[in-house]
């Protein structure tokens, strides 16, 4: 992969001038340490990912799903990574890079709280002070992660602007960075933001597909017909796709949050989904030109998804480009189908996925014929953080899976 600034017409560096020198410094550090392994950076990174993070994560053949969908379903188990999601691959890489760069402080935004906890863990591990910005709405729906960040010694700063989700948290973190840029590194949580972030985060996350590609050859004796991953910003997505991009016969399926509907409300500025790749159009947000959920004037819409980690109006520029090129196929799965898939995976395979991840399985359920004979699905994270949300959201619905919510109520009353 040699793209580091632009991906076709997407990408770039649309940030306040005050940040540009830091971005140049980061670009330089990225090229030296990450791309050229200067001072053995990548070796140390890989070693820490192994010993602290628990890599490699397994590729598991899913007995029940394979039978149910009559296709060989392999699960890439990023839920087993330390912290419970793929997010650590990136967070650890960036915090370590900040250390190599001589930075003294870490800031990050978080949506589901997974990137925040991953960053807080990595910062504790590498002994760096750390502050996390998180929207108030997300704080409320992902409380366990707030506690975890705090237990790891990170400050958590609630962001109350707008709807209080990921978009606002990113803006606020950029503001902090504009003030503290000389000593602080901003650990962005997905393949978004100004260059070199999208390329750098992709490179840190590519370990997913690097391992998966080797593992599927071992397990299935061949490359898969498809790779499926959910897409919020798209870091687990590009991490899962990267090493397969050159394998023209492998379909790459990016599953976004269909939310409650694909129809936008221009009047209110609300898109009740986060299906940026399928429904968004080109614009500039958070430092990059990419596909966005925006109104006809270019104002950014409030997005929605039952899963906080997909609830974002933008998407990584590289993914936008690969969709335009036809290399990546965008898809989306709505809240109901994601919840059903959550319960299904929990009951059938004994894996409680993150609500974000559940979207990938919702896609499989709705399109079993689209994935070919052998598919790799990235289990981007585990669902411990989502228990309360799932209980609440399930109670409000009449789902197509057999979930006995009375047992939860009984437990509540105990």
């Amino acid at each position: 992969m040699s793209e580091t600034v632009k991906f076709g017409q997407y990408g770039g560096q649309y940030v306040p001038e005050v940040l540009m020198p830091a971005i140049e410094e980061l670009t330089d550090a990225y090229e030296r340490y990450v791309l050229d392994n200067e001072d053995g950076f990548m070796d140390e990174f890989r070693q820490r990912l192994r010993d602290f993070g628990g890599r490699p994560t397994p590729l598991q053949y899913a007995d029940q799903l394979s039978e149910a969908y009559d296709t060989a379903v392999y699960l890439k188990r990023e839920d087993l990574l330390h912290g419970g999601a793929h997010k650590l691959n990136n967070a650890l890489g960036q915090v370590l890079l900040a250390k190599y760069m001589g930075k003294e402080r870490i800031i990050a935004e978080t949506g589901a709280g997974q990137h925040g906890t991953a960053t807080a863990m990595a910062a504790a591990h590498l002994d760096m002070p750390c502050e996390i910005y998180m929207g108030r709405t997300d704080i409320n729906r992902q409380r366990p992660n707030v506690f975890r960040m705090r237990l790891n010694g990170a400050e958590v700063n609630p962001v109350t602007v707008g709807r209080g989700t990921l978009k606002e948290a990113i803006s606020e973190t950029m503001r902090d960075w504009a003030t503290t840029v000389e000593t602080t590194h901003y650990v962005i949580g997905s393949i978004v933001g100004p260059a070199p972030f999208p390329a750098m985060v992709r490179d840190f996350q590519s370990v997913i597909s690097e391992e998966a590609r080797e593992q599927i050859r071992d397990h299935a004796g061949r490359l898969p017909d498809s790779v499926v991953a959910c897409a919020g910003g798209g870091s687990n997505t590009m991490g899962s796709f990267a090493e397969f991009v050159d394998d023209a016969d492998v379909d790459l399926l990016a599953v976004e949050a269909g939310g409650s509907s694909l129809t936008v409300n221009e009047q209110e500025g609300v898109a009740p989904n986060s299906a940026t790749l399928s429904t968004g159009d080109e614009g500039v947000l958070h430092g990059a030109r990419t596909k966005l959920l925006q109104d006809s004037d270019g104002q950014i819409m409030e997005s929605h998804s039952v899963s906080a980690g997909l609830d974002y109006a933008g998407v990584g520029p590289e993914l936008a480009h690969l969709v335009d090129e036809g290399r990546v196929t965008p898809a989306n799965v709505d809240d109901d189908a994601a919840l059903e898939a959550f319960h299904r995976l929990s009951q059938e395979e004994g894996i409680i996925p993150a609500l974000e991840t559940a979207h990938a399985f919702g896609y499989l359920h709705e399109n079993p014929d689209a994935v070919g004979d052998v598919t790799v699905i990235n289990v981007s994270g585990r669902g411990d953080k989502d228990l309360e949300t799932v209980i609440e959201e399930t109670e409000q619905r009449d789902l197509d899976v057999d979930v006995d919510m009375s047992v939860f109520e009984a437990a509540e009353g105990m």
Binding site: E17, P21, R175, A178, T179, T180, Q294, D297
Partner: protein
Amino acid sequence: MANNPDLAGAFERDDPAFVPYLAAGDPDYEASLEYVEALARGGADVIELGLPFSEPIAEGKTIQDAIVRALDAGMTPDRYFEFVAELDVDVPLVCMTYYNLIYQYGQEEGPRPFVEKAADVGITGFVVPDLPAEEADPLREACDEFDLDLVFIVAPTTRGDRLDRMREQVSGYVYVQARLGTTGARDDVSDQTDESLARIDDWDVPKAVGFGIKEGDHAARIVRAGADGIIVGSALVDIVAEGYENDEPVSAVADRLEAKARDLKEGALRGAQQRAESVVPEDQ
């Protein structure tokens, strides 16, 4: 590159420019018209008129709130152009907004339709905080075509190559960011201002300093340090916000804005006088 005589001409060595900022449409269209006009009456030499964008990453809390008020009251790019056309002021107007609004406007791709329309309603130049020199070519070209200026921001962190790149592109004036961070009124004056001004001492565009200026004395201090103008936003938006929260009559708020403008403009003039009286600024 364009160099609109109106804009650069507003900055004179012995009459430094007072450049106030307000978000257009804050807290509503009608009141906002009055407020902007009050600033002109108070002595504004150039007005930076914000077109509100939903993700103002370079703004501090004060201006973020102004933007939310304006958006809630229905401000859009088209309304903004009407607003500009309707304004009864005779100083140059600079449009301050984020790139996505410029980029999305009109049927055609790219910034040209927006710039054309802006020129048409009487805008003189642009400040686009999320558009560094690296990404500015398309907008620069459109500005040249319609003879508008493109102002760039020099930050305390801007050095070396970056300065050169910006120097080539900038026109109208250069916006010297007085400190790290986002917009917002402060009580102190940053040393970084002096250093930034020193770094661009030999540039031939006027140098206007902004970010954090709150009072006439600050303005004086900055002009003394060599600025050709001062840019003041949050301190003025604070007055609008206060009036909005207390439900004050528009005219009362407008009066306070005018008075504040006068104080700032006088501060700037005082600074210029002091500078003229001593070759070495007294407190260096």
